[in-house]
């Protein structure tokens, strides 16, 4: 196995694993802001308890996110030193800005939020939760800026064998930054909504902590439905249009369009294959892709066969991951519509099948984030920076395959252990429930006295 391939495996693993946590943290943080805010303003004990409870789950999720995020900051240098030299003049700035503007904010105020409940006023305490949510959302912005520049580079000139900054504004607000930012952050909010809804469903199913569960369920379903609708329109739609405009190869691959055609169909389902290039068992709606992409049913959409063979992304992975994401997105809307209707009819609290669906849906938005990210990143191949630098040319020259393999195994084992521990502790905290705190508190004090 060659070093570049291993470096890609390592990056996919560490980034993919890290990306399980920040979307949940971001979404959960905003729901905690809402719950704590309602608890504080209305002086409502139920919301206060729910807010505090989900705040603890946020801390757990945040910790694993922080732990695995450190790797990301250094990995460009360790594994992709040629890339780092090529893009350093542009790519480092958003990472540094993320630290300065966002990381300090979220980390500092998370400490205040978790440890400072009895040390600051309720208003300041709520403000600290708000800063955690705001900081993590801002941090997502700078990361998306960096990643979007790889997708649709702009604001640069090629000079001295590297990309040099010509306009910071153009580099930050490159063509894909905003569409991708809204799409990604909104997906994170969905992760938070399903997380809260699913855990509330668990309590409703087990007839425990019913007051808190109902309160948080209502907030999560309403919030979740709004963001799920927004995710499809306008955010998903505008992002897809932007891809069609700025990265036509990726667009053709995710949509499974092999031949250039006018009035291109949208493929709802198919089994893709690249040798020979065809879609099997495909279910298509004629002309809709042209209309979605360019607002004209007869618009011409470029197919993969019109691009150089060595400049198109792998087909199967992009097509399948993209379609999985879309299917999940539709599922989320349906489930939340159903849940909202059930809340309105006051039947949700007894509707066991629906509650079970909500419970088991907790990981689904996270999976949607993963496959969406796969479609975005695999769809960018073979480029590491679109049409400027190929992935093949970007890895570290001094790092051998053996060293990379060693670190893949090391991180693979640690990450597997972390995932098991995270799930174990999450389940344990959920089983303990919102009231656990007080019990635990006396236990701890006894322990201290002993």
């Amino acid at each position: 196995m060659d070093a570049v391939f291993l470096a890609r495996v390592q990056f996919a693993m560490t980034a993919g694993f890290h990306f399980l946590f920040p979307p949940v943290s971001i979404g959960l943080a905003w729901l905690v802001v809402i719950l704590e805010g309602m608890g504080w303003r209305k002086n409502n004990l139920v919301y206060q308890k729910a807010g505090k409870f989900f705040g603890k789950l946020l801390a757990l999720t945040f910790a694993v996110g922080v732990a695995t995020g450190i790797v990301m900051e250094f990995q460009f240098g360790t594994n992709w030193s040629e890339y780092s030299k090529f893009v350093g003049d542009i790519f480092g700035a958003p990472l540094a800005a993320e630290g300065v503007f966002a990381f300090f904010l979220e980390s500092g105020f998370l400490g205040l939020y978790l440890f400072g409940r009895n040390r600051v006023s309720k208003g300041v305490h709520w403000f600290s939760a708000l800063m955690v949510a705001f900081g993590s959302t801002l941090s997502a912005f700078w990361i998306i800026v960096a990643n979007s520049w790889q997708q649709t580079p702009s604001g640069y000139i090629i000079n001295n064998n590297r990309a040099e900054l010509s306009s910071f504004y153009d580099a930050v607000f490159n063509p894909s930054t905003l569409p991708r930012y809204f799409h990604t952050v909104d997906a994170a909010l969905m992760c938070g909504a399903f997380f809260v809804a699913g855990i509330s469903a668990y309590y409703l199913l087990n007839k425990k902590h019913l007051d808190e569960a109902r309160a948080s369920m209502k907030v999560a379903v309403i919030f979740g439905l709004i963001v799920s609708l927004l995710e499809v329109f306008p955010f998903g739609h505008t992002h897809a249009q932007q891809v069609a405009r700025t990265q036509p190869e990726k667009f053709a691959a995710i949509e499974g369009l092999y031949t250039t055609q006018q009035g291109a169909p949208v493929v709802l389902f198919a089994i893709p294959s690249s040798k020979p290039p065809e879609l099997k068992a495909s279910l298509e709606v004629p002309k809709v892709l042209s209309w979605l992409a360019f607002g004209d049913v007869n618009a011409s959409v470029k197919g993969l066969n019109d691009f150089p063979k060595d400049e198109i992304p792998p087909l199967e992975l992009t097509f399948i991951s993209f379609h999985t994401m879309v299917a999940l997105g539709m599922f989320f809307i349906l489930v939340l519509l159903w849940a909202l209707y059930a809340i309105y009819r006051k039947t949700l609290w007894q509707n066991r099948p629906l509650l079970k669906i909500l419970l088991w849906s907790i990981p689904l938005p996270v999976i949607a984030c993963q496959v969406g990210w796969m479609a975005a990143e695999v769809g960018r191949q073979p480029w590491i920076v679109y049409r400027l630098l190929k992935t093949q040319m970007a890895a570290s020259v001094t790092v051998g395959a053996g060293e990379i393999l060693f670190s893949i195994i090391l991180f693979g084992l640690i990450y597997l252990a972390l995932l098991c521990l995270y799930i174990f502790l999450l389940v344990k905290e959920v089983k303990n429930g919102p009231e656990h705190d007080l019990v635990n508190h006396t236990e701890k004090n006894n322990l201290v006295e002993a």
């Binding site: 450190i70 460009f76 480092g92 630290g99 904010l105 978790l114 440890f115 400072g116 201290v448």
Partner: protein, 339 residues
Amino acid sequence: MMDLNTIWFVLVGVLITGYAVLDGFDFGVGILHLFTENEREKRVSLNAIGPVWDGNEVWLLTAGGALFAAFPVVYATVFSGFYIALMLLLLALIMRAVSMEFRSKVDNAKWRKMWDFAFGIGSLLPPVLFGVAIGNILHGLPINEKGIFTGSFLALLNPYSILIGVLSCVMFIMHGAIYLAMKSQNEQHDRSMSVASKAWVAFVILYVISTLASIVVSPFLFEGILKNPLFWILFILMTLSIVFLPLALKLKRLSYAFISSSVVIASMIGLMAVSLFPRLVPSVTDLSYSLTVYNSSSTGRTLSTMLIVALLGMPLVILYTAFIYRVFKGKVTIDEGSC
């Protein structure tokens, strides 16, 4: 007037200093945690750093980002050159981060013991590795004319670098012990005080040895340094704080002792920076292949843009960080917010 490259050399240095001073005491507290038996004392040490360690670690992330933005060639060369060492460092930081969160979640002695150990090792390894890394930088790296690292992991473990690793570890034990003494009471307080005094003695001895070793190993660091007023300012500052530190401990003025050890750390990093400048990474292959603030930097446009980012962001960071530290001022109290 300093040029942009020099300004960013200073700023990256400031970020590294902020990291060393702040996360440094976290490391010290974590190392001492390894030798703590009593459960209450363990909880005090965890809660002493619990609210702030995460924010402290951000200084490292920001320093990493700033190095990438300002000196990408250094970021790429050093990090890929230190590959295995960096992977170990990242693992240690991961362990430390999760152990603090996981430890209190299960009420079981074995579970807690496991995470205590992970927390201790996760706090011990980084200062040693940072020290070894800095030792290698001061020593110089095998870098060829294309700016590419040609060494190996094992070569990084040379005696001089290990000496700097031990120095760094002892320095952070001293720093962390003073912090813990500020935060704890009774026996734990007394023990921390005595560790701080002993670590001070060890630090002074190791510091003298390291300085002599540096003169032998890397004479280029000392060329013309005696004519540099900045060197003398930092040197005097450092000497004064080293002398003042045990006095402050004796007089039980712990906040002065803590400020002293912070100044020791900061001026030591300052002295290293002064002796390295304008090089960032000296090359032992040929000193003229060294990576400097000029041959490995980003463009002026990026450096000036980033300067604006830093000037906008960092005052705010310092402001709310100070506020958060003020909220958690004083001795640790174990209450329902504790971990």
